[in-house]
Symmetry: C2
Subunit: 800 residues, 2 copies
């Protein structure tokens, strides 16, 4: 007899329990065994791994969930992803994908037989084998769970614009204490049942972390219900430790949850949801089960099951200590191997029949394994060209031009719904507002009549959490879709660690043939260090670039386009790439423009170039000095410095070099974009002084170039952590990056010049003093600084 609270008949309950036991058996085997995988003979020391690594505590719960998800996938023909927050429960994810067959399809050497099982056990946390976490090597995973906090945000990211997908997401009670996870519960306010798939959060409370209790584990059910209902979720509780009771309860909760999800989606897709109502109450499950469930109750007289001692390897000395080994053997035999596998070590057919088939298996889902990368319909970026009659002959806001391009991208992807823009409430501030002409902000909460730019189904995502923006975009791109994260430069450090983990994921993924490429994750960092003059020191930090370049060269790209057309070209390029992380830093303030689209194409394709028009070198002659620049503000100051030098020292031969692609500076052996030494010297010369005006911390340029022969001639100016609330030009002055300091640096560096350039130097000093006096009196930069435009304009005009 079955009913809604007991949906399993006795036979099905027994089968699911056996399936679960099989997964548990394989999990323990991975942690412990080198050999004797089916326990054909009594366990001996030589069968046990010398280093016992792995996390048992969370694993039986993960296996329990997997078995029940399999059931509903089959019953309802679902496409489902399993995001395993406690990724260190890797043995469970590996065990389950092995049981369902997807593992052996990808890794044929890990066959579904005794030899394969032996390899399966041996490879786990073994040199040359697989990591202990739900890593890229784990089929069906898009989430490693090594660093905790990002499970649920990845789940929502995967669900956006995947209407046929259900993302089951297990959140451990340890992870639930982290900040990013705590914020992630708000994902339901952004999930649109019409266009998006569903997320089924499963909070798995086993009560303990590594060495102590968890906050959520100690909350009672009433408080948990209150908490999640307040956040708009509808929690279903599955609590206990008796397997057969728990199977019924879990099956009932799953049925109820999936039915509710289907009802929400059906109502929304039939147009029945009131457009201005509160978001739907999506179901979630709270699973409270013992840590190390079904493992040893006690070891050496100490509490293990249901306690933190079950966290990692509950029986520590199984190789050396015969009592421990006997305990391990009785634990493993307790799963009754003969009810699970046949004589060859193959899962019994009635159990195998419990798993979904083909691409419905969670380990074989194309959503996870990279099979669904949809091409992005990019417009021709040249259509958004800012007209630049001659260098310095126009003023524009670079990011505003980018906004127009992004708006067109949003327009073209309206049907495919495979492009989103994420940002922490800064999209308008970063002057990308053109996107709102095409798409509103995603917003499922109440909308007031006077609100602007909010809608269900919006594809601009704004929430005041860099963690959510980053995590959503990771989940979105890892499931094959495209996007951009726009952020204030200083605060992108908030996601330093998420960047790390994503870069590591991509590095490993790229080496796995069976994982298809996924779209790159692209950052547009604006409101950057030089134009946070109004917000001050806390908002001034260009160090994310330094952080990024620590990662593998084949993964990271860093671009600092000097003007709008270069930004357009760079942005378009980045959005066409895959398996990378692109960082673009660009200003939002009105600034002189230098290159036409045609010139920008050539310049950006090369990654750097000599700007002859800005310098004063003579064809065929080596310059006296190279002024290099990277970043929009340093470029402006460098061009102005070259102009000052031309005025005051007309005989000095100056070369101006602009760098867009920072990676070109590295040696070719270090980065695929790196210049050869010959090319480097052709541009920067081998012997002439190089003054490099750089957007960020100056030592990064040294780090990238220290192997170049001309490095000894290199002098770099950049941000040296001198910031405050002041004027834009005063910011560069405080960091010695302004035109006058650069011109004085030039005088100091060119041999012999110091003797004759006294009057010029004095003029530059006087200008600085005059500016200082003006600025502290008037509170703004001097008019000629504010409105500086390339005086070459006149010359060029005259020449035409």
């Amino acid at each position: 007899m079955t009913d809604a609270a007991h949906p399993l008949d006795a036979a099905e309950a027994a089968l699911i329990d056996r399936y679960w036991r099989a997964a548990n058996y394989l999990s323990v085997g991975q942690i412990y065994l080198l050999d004797n995988p089916l326990l054909r003979v009594p366990l001996e020391a030589a069968h046990i791994k010398p280093r016992l690594l792995g996390h048992w505590g969370t694993t039986p719960g993960l296996n329990f969930i997997y078995a029940h998800l399999n059931r509903v996938i089959r019953a309802r023909d679902l496409d489902m992803l399993y995001i395993c927050g406690p990724g260190h429960g890797g043995p469970g994810m590996v065990a389950n994908t092995y049981l369902e067959g997807s593992y052996s399809e990808i890794y044929p050497e890990i066959a579904e037989n005794e030899a394969g099982m032996k390899r399966l056990f041996r490879q786990f946390s073994f040199p040359g084998g697989i990591p202990s976490h739900a890593a890229p090597e784990t089929p069906g995973s898009i989430h490693e769970g090594g660093e905790l906090g990002y499970a649920l945000v990845h789940a929502y990211g995967a669900a956006f614009d995947n209407p046929d997908l259900v993302v089951a997401c297990v959140v451990g009670d340890g992870e639930a204490e982290t900040g990013p996870l705590a914020a992630s519960w708000h994902g339901n306010k952004f999930l649109d049942p019409r266009h998006d798939g569903a997320v089924l959060p499963i909070l798995h409370l086993n009560g303990y972390k590594i060495a102590g209790p968890t906050i959520f584990g100690r909350m009672d059910d009433a408080a948990l219900r209150q908490f999640f209902e307040a956040l708009g979720h509808d929690p279903l509780f599955v609590c206990g430790d008796d397997p057969l009771v728990m199977h019924q309860a879990m099956a009932a909760a799953m049925d109820q949850a999936l039915t509710a999800i289907a009802a929400i989606q059906a109502a929304a897709r039939a147009g029945q949801a009131a457009p201005a109502a509160a978001p739907p109450r999506w179901p979630m499950i709270v699973l409270r089960s013992p840590k190390g469930w079904t493992g040893p109750k006690q070891v050496d007289g100490k509490r293990v099951e249901g306690f933190w001692r079950a966290h990692q390897v509950p029986i520590a000395a199984a190789r050396e200590n015969a009592d421990h080994r006997a305990l391990l053997e009785s634990w493993m035999r307790g799963y009754r191997i003969e009810e699970l596998f046949d004589g060859e070590g193959r899962l019994l057919p009635e159990l195998r029949a419990l798993a979904p088939v083909g691409g419905k298996r969670m380990g074989a889902s194309l959503y996870a394994n990279g099979g669904r990368r949809a091409p992005l319909d990019r417009p021709d970026w040249r259509a958004f060209e800012v007209a630049v009659p001659h260098p310095g002959g126009a003023v524009a806001e670079a990011t505003r031009a980018a906004g127009a391009y992004l708006a067109e991208l949003l327009r073209r992807s309206e049907a495919a719904r495979n492009f989103r823009v994420m940002g922490p409430d800064e999209t308008a501030s970063n002057r990308l507002s053109a996107v709102f002409d095409v798409s509103d902000r995603a917003w499922m909460e109440r909308i007031e009549p006077y609100d602007e730019g909010l809608a269900r189904g919006g594809r601009v995502m704004e929430v005041l959490s860099e963690h959510l923006c980053q995590g959503w975009l990771e989940g979105y791109t890892l499931t094959g879709r495209h996007g951009l994260f726009n952020c204030y430069e200083a605060f992108v450090h908030i996601v330093d660690s998420m960047f790390n983990q994503h870069a590591k994921w991509l590095k490993v993924s790229r080496a796995l043939d069976w994982r298809r490429p996924v779209p790159s994750l692209t950052y547009l960092l604006s409101s950057h260090v030089w134009r946070q003059d109004h917000n001050g020191f806390s908002h001034q930090d260009p160090g994310f670039i330094d952080h990024v370049v620590n990662k593998k060269a084949d993964i990271v790209r860093v671009y600092l386009p000097p003007d709008a057309n270069c930004l357009l070209r760079t942005l378009d390029h980045c959005l066409g790439t895959h398996d990378r992380i692109n960082v673009i830093v660009a200003g939002k303030q009105p600034a002189p423009q230098w290159l036409t689209a045609e010139q920008a194409e050539i310049h950006c394709a090369a990654g750097l170039g000599i700007w002859h028009w800005a310098g004063s070198e003579q064809p065929g002659e080596a310059p006296d000095l190279v002024l290099a620049c990277c970043g929009d503000v340093p470029t402006l100051e460098t061009i102005a410095a070259a102009d000052l030098l031309r005025q005051h020292l007309p005989d000095l031969r100056v070369r101006v070099v602009n760098v867009v692609d920072l990676m070109t500076l590295q040696p070719r052996e270090e980065h695929p974009h790196g210049l050869t030494d010959a090319d480097f010297e052709a541009i920067f010369t081998r012997t002439r002084p190089i003054l490099f005006a750089y957007h960020g911390y100056p030592w990064l340029i040294h780090r990238l170039t220290y192997r170049r022969a001309s490095h000894a001639n290199l002098h770099v100016r950049g941000f040296k952590e001198e910031g405050t609330t002041t004027t834009p030009f005063d910011m560069v002055v405080r960091n010695d990056l302004d035109r006058y300091h650069l011109a004085m640096d030039a005088i100091a560096r060119v041999p012999g010049l110091a003797d004759t350039a006294g009057p010029a130097r004095q003029a530059f000093r006087d200008a600085l003093i005059a500016h200082h006096d003006y600025v502290t009196t008037h509170g703004e930069d001097m008019p000629e600084i504010r409105d500086w435009s390339w005086p070459y304009q006149t010359a060029a005009d005259a020449g035409d």
Copy 2:
């Protein structure tokens, strides 16, 4: 007639309203005015700042709260801190500290008269003036609020072990969306009413962020009540926009909250709280008031008050546009200046009487301004010396030794309660468990009979959130107390951005005489990149050091002690410093020990040194090669490499240099710990090849040394992002940092050696292959690698 719901009589309500209006007036004045501060004449363009900067939207709410906190401070003689989460409401914090007189005491040029008011207005967000946020320059602040998310965690940190303090903490509804803030609500589970002060969270809902609504602002009161009650708080609601109604409501809520706090503390301190019960339900306030309250309702026909357009400067063109200017003037006059200030611009005495006096003023609190730094009673670290009969003659876990020292620190600080250890559930994992002999983990939730190491009043703080650990320790040290944050090395990146903000805070604070020094924030990073072999790639990241050294040299210190005695000495040194951020990286695994305490003292005081006993140079002769090392694992591999070279190439003269203090490598001009060039060359030589084995990313060593003349001879090995789950030695092999690679590197680098060293090189290659075969067969490192100890042992013994 007053009652609990209307505690103000009409006169007092009117006075508080006038005080609030005065603060609002001064706030608007700071944003807009250069001159005419008392509006003695009609506003002219010249009176208006040319650049209008500042955040009006949040400010009237902040001022409202300040006025009401003043009232309860006076009524109850409280010591109170105001943590202003929306720190960009800086005009409000400046206005209030000016009104109460603390501002002019610190900055006498900003006097309490018309001329002072003019300066007050002018300096705000003005070049040479003050930042727009609640920055270090703001009296009474320990929190800048530029980067959002850390208000509440700072508040709890300040309250721990400050039993007489109430920390009022305003959280904006934007900030409430961030992850760190979301996790911070759990602070109540760690606050012990017996030993700690109180936190009064004030969630300030004004409904909008920069350009859109907030999640919390759209939650109704019932959901908010449910949310906060679930988290164990007791919310009191103050909602509306009519000032006089709101004054009564706020006064009533404040009275109720402070009475409840007093009752909780009295019960706990009288020993009446059940020790195993749930934590007390501390009160909090939810203030729902319009964004830009009392500002213009509309500008240019567009909604401003109560909408996101009030966020920054509501009237944008007040200088250029006469209509805007008239609107501004009528807005400012609406506060009725004549009811606020006397003819000289001084606050009217009946209003001044509303502010507390002396150190009770929130702007003058010694808790905030650094006046309460309590000396830490440090033991003699030598008492914890690990006996090292000769280099390599002992094996120990460095952090375990540190744990014993920390336990004694906890013991000695038991009465003063001025030292805490923070960590994300990793204190035991990092092998600091000795601390639990002295103090349990702070835990206010239910404690089960079988739980271990949990107690109310514990001074070891564990929560699975690096954000909370960091933020608590910031709040704790900024209010004068001491502590240590122990963390896995890879995951400390989670707080990169918090580190940035704290470093910036310290940099600015150090330049302000009136801010007294505060204890340094010290990190002990363990479970580091080389010994996360079991957790794999996601746990392997040494880049925090790179991040840290971007900050100002006078703030940051980075130490990599090579063994236990060096760690003890370094830790003790760091805990005795102030106004710095110290980063210590040290291993937890059993490892050979090199130095006695006496030797460690000399070595660490110098920051680096030649280890003659490890090398093979002859007195008076230049070595053929320098093997330098920094970090415990690179040190072991370097010593082993030197040993291999001695065995195989006995004529080669090798110098071994160990670096503890990474900052010594920088030029003296760049860092106070930097060596002079002469000293650098005395140690590293000018001309000999230097092979540097470094703990982290190798390019950092290049970056620190590129100005040294011997830099051209420098070859660095370090972590090159090659990680996985494997054995410890295989990890160094994968990154070419092992003894064999180092020895082969040496052969390649010493001129002339390559020709004669063929057999040695072959031996090293063979050893690597043999090791690889062994490791992939047995799953552990070869015995001679696992148990490697300095063979010099025998020689030294023989020599004695």
